[in-house]
Amino acid sequence: MNNRRPPSTGTRSSRKAIDIVNAGLARRYRAEKRFRFYGMAAIAASLVFLSILFISIFGKGYPAFQQTYIQLDIFFDPDILARDALTTADYPGLVKQSLRRMFPDVEGRRDKRMLYKIASTGAAYQIRNLVLDDPDVIGKTIGIWVPADDDIDMFFKGHIPRDVPESERRIKDRQIAWIDHLIKEQRIEKHFNRILLTAGDSREPELAGIWGAVMGSFYTLLVTLLLSFPIGIAAAVYLEEFAPKNKWTDLIEVNINNLAAVPSIVFGLLGLAVFLNFFGLPRSAPLVGGLVLTLMTLPTIIIASRASLQSVPPSIREAALGIGASQMQMVAHHVLPLAMPGILTGTIIGMARALGESAPLLMIGMVAFIVDIPGGFTDPSTVLPVQIFLWADSPERAFVERTSAATMVLLAFLIVMNAAAVYLRKRFERRW
């Protein structure tokens, strides 16, 4: 501005100030317009990327919320189900029997094996649970919907084309004929995939669920929250309100800021060295995962909390001190409540980051195949992002859509947490 029209006493005296203002006005508005445009363009670009991400994940993932089921007429054969050994009876045999009865013309070992593979191996467990729950079904014939094998599921959902040569498909022509027969008899249908949301991991895609990972994430984050929230607040309050300002506190501050930027895998290495090797805590446990993630989230929480404490107006502190509140009372009664929205936001952002983290957990053995749903802090478990990683790496094609579905669940959790951050902010926010 100044370069173009250097202010000289001559112009200033010959033109009125308002004229100079008016002359510059157009340029000022143009600059503002340009800035707004850049801002909008930036937002639009990020929205586009976000929607591409969402569309691709949703597009791939939504079919996973449905699973192909086959209706089998199971005859609960009293010869197989001896009353005294119900737990160990040959349930797969029951499934095979009913499939054979449905397709009596299937002959030969190879073909029979192919036929048996239509139903998931989970069918036998399902029938077993049914019998154990209600032994009175023995002797009856009941139509039961059982999950189809993952290849059948993929075919039924249209992911395996019919028109390629037989040798290049995982579904053979005979199987297609059987499926067509089932379709005609209305014995094959897509149902809501409850297994996906309620089961633990499995190597059979049709039996794999994320509940184990959800529980693992829950326990891990609970430990993280219980440790990092109080410790983070205590550290922030101490540094901000009590610590003398000197070289040491400066050093600590620099270190905390650095820690926030350290790659998360480093915390995993630290956890391995300290919690597993030194303290001898169990591998793959949410407890250790929580501890490691605590180390990772603490700097975030401390930094956010300090910023939030700093933003509390000094007049409020003086008011409290002026009446004779102690430093601690001032902090606890006035400063902390006012800083709470910011602290909570920081905490939730830290927790959301911890929820999405898998790298540090690799080192402490939480990247693992775990079927049983964890029931406590020391049970072996994995977490949601690790489950996604493991599924993404599985050869079975049906895991592709399940990977996206698990990502959707993770995103849902993240959205819920961030919404909670917004809500808490609103709730606790007070004007002064």
Binding site: S167, M328, P337, A368, P380
Partner: protein, 350 residues
């Protein structure tokens, strides 16, 4: 008021931590670590085992063969794994480490084979490669095509440059990074074998082993070989998007995606189930797991797990592992290892 809550919470959290830390001394499930190649097979066995027995489902970590053996050999006790999977045999150095740490009874179980395939999309014709072609196309330094016993930086741009019988497509291979077991096996089984076709390189093995290794195992870094990450599914997807490229991954991924991709022939043999099983497909490797003898009677379910893995319905030609893409061993070999396991035969490496 608030400060009290915070202090109480912290104390509770610490107590809880300390409390459960005490409780973590016993283990009632089998802990397995090791190779990511064996992982898809071991997990199926573990799941089957967990569902059909009263024992808990074993926990299986995918740590890589080397990482698994390191954990495995760290000592005896519940904090150490019971079994490690490996996509190669245990090394003498690792065995010695085991011994030094008191892990003296180690049972070796070979479970089957895995083929490493080079595949491309069905949209293009299948490639007919030799291991020598593979070496020349992918090594960082190759023998001077003008003769003489010297190396020059890899000059080949297209497959036709390597071998006039091959199509004039640009050399573009998507493969795993050096951290991966598949990559180790690939450079050893395909590239090193190809390099040996040059007699002077072969002769070097005796004279200068380090140099020999460097020649055979160093993959070119000029962009023709693309490190596509550990995720084999990703490589498969990229092949479909880029039909001229080749990808390197385990046989089970080819098996699962046979409608869109095809394996290249190596030395005239296609990577099929049967060809890998009978050993005619050259780029294949044995898979193992190692069991800590001292844990067999301590951790519940160990014997039953070993029985499940070595049962015909699991590792046999018609077993469920074959369904998952593992190539079973010949009958005689299976029998030998099954009896070894039953007899708790310890491995001896001299």
């Amino acid at each position: 008021m608030l400060s009290k809550t915070i202090i109480t919470l912290t104390v509770i959290a610490f107590l809880a931590t300390a409390g459960v830390a005490m409780a973590g001394s016993a283990r009632d499930y089998i802990s397995i670590v090791g190779s990511s190649t064996v992982y898809p097979f071991a997990t199926v066995v573990a799941e089957q085992f967990g569902k059909t027995t009263s024992f808990k489902t074993p926990k299986i970590e995918s740590t890589g063969s080397g990482g698994g053996l390191k954990l495995f050999c760290a000592g005896v006790g519940v904090e150490h794994p019971d079994i490690t999977n490996a996509s190669r045999r245990i090394k003498k150095s690792e065995y010695d480490k085991c011994m030094a740490n008191g892990v003296d009874g180690v049972i070796e179980v070979k479970i089957g084979y895995d083929g490493i395939v080079m595949a491309n999309a069905k949209k293009t014709a299948p490639m007919k490669l030799t291991r020598k072609d593979i070496f020349l196309a992918l090594a960082k330094d190759v023998p001077d095509p003008n003769g003489g016993e010297k190396l020059i930086p890899n000059p080949y741009k297209t497959w036709k440059d390597v071998n006039p019988a091959l199509p004039a497509n640009k050399i573009e291979v998507l493969g795993p990074p050096p951290t991966s077991g598949t990559r180790d096996a690939f450079v050893e089984l395909a590239m090193e074998a190809g390099a040996k076709k040059f007699s002077w390189i072969k002769a070097m093995k005796k004279k200068d082993k380090k140099m020999y290794k460097a020649i055979c195992h160093t993959v070119r870094e000029d962009g023709a070989y693309v490190e596509a990450g550990e995720n084999d599914n990703l490589i498969v997807q990229k092949l479909n998007a880029n039909p001229k490229a080749l990808g390197i991954f385990g046989f089970s991924f080819l098996d699962q995606n046979s409608d869109t991709i095809q394996g290249s022939l190596v030395d005239g043999v296609p990577p099929t189930f049967d060809a890998i099983a009978d050993g005619s497909y050259p780029v294949s490797r044995p898979l193992f797991f190692y069991v800590k003898k001292a844990h067999v009677d301590v951790i519940p379910g160990m014997k039953a797990y070993l029985a499940e893995f070595t049962a015909e319905k699991a590792w046999g030609p018609d077993g469920y592992l074959a369904d998952k893409g593992m190539i079973p061993m010949p009958d005689a070999e299976r029998r030998k290892f099954a009896t070894d396991v039953k007899g708790m035969q310890s491995l001896m490496l001299k």
